[in-house]
Symmetry: none
Subunit: 152 residues, 2 copies
Amino acid sequence: MSLTLADAIERHILALLQECGQADLQRVVLARQYDCAPSQINYVLATRFTPERGFVTVSRRGGGGYIRIVRSGQPELPRLAAALRQSGTGVAQAEAAAIVARCGASGWLTEREARMLTDMLHRDVLDLPLPQRDLLRARLLAVALLSASQGR
Amino acid sequence: MSLTLADAIERHILALLQECGQADLQRVVLARQYDCAPSQINYVLATRFTPERGFVTVSRRGGGGYIRIVRSGQPELPRLAAALRQSGTGVAQAEAAAIVARCGASGWLTEREARMLTDMLHRDVLDLPLPQRDLLRARLLAVALLSASQGR
DNA sequence: GGGCTTTTGACCTTCCCTGACCTATTATAG
DNA sequence: CTATAATAGGTCAGGGAAGGTCAAAAGCCC
């Protein structure tokens, strides 16, 4: 559909990232290339290259200034998954729900993903006697979080 | 046999779908073409291109906004969930993966959701003896699909 | 007339893009 | 060394361009 300016710039930056795994650019230069206001670049960064979408940006002002965009893995989720796995202990329904809710609130999971997980981990669904039920829940949750952290 | 405006617009969109399997349109443009209120387009979408009838619509607002309608030949999520539940029988891993993949391909699930489900439903994760394992997988999948269908 | 579907219009939310102004960093003149 | 100029990025409010919602009016068919 009709490519907006923001979309075009997004692609440009994504292409750079594809090439080198990191995109260095100068705001005014890119703005001139696309014949737009420099702040448009900030708009693209703010709406498309957010931490929530797995990017971090660093920049420097003044002479020789630049903007650098890099893909950031999502360390939180793998770390959480590892913690769950290591503990080797089970996870109660309420505990799981709290973890999922926190991940949702901080943007690591979408609202829909959070809802799916919460529903799936309900005791009536797992339907096992108690020591095993919580263990299964822990495994499922760990796998889900790990899986969610793989790319986007 | 009176052809209402809504019917005409429905045919128009169906024709577009026939051509390319996907219909992209701009609301105001189509409204002008049929000399009607823009919200009339929404009415047609809401009454004729519903998930129940096998369509998904996505849209973007603001400059460069558009509406996209795609046919998803795949069974609707709640229906699938109900089928899984009713059958009362288990679901093998390969079967589950295929279902999830189809849902992903037709846009009912995001790529990430599909990956999460596939991973969660792996036999090593469920880790139960065989009649129960497939039954648990069926329950999990049904709940997940149902949950995913609950709004966006 | 009663109950359905269709159609419209007023109002809302979201997204794009810019311009004016601000802050940080470096270069340079005195 | 310090003050100032030059350079570069950051922020924010606001206007315009879409699409979304909802209730009320208008048709239509018993």
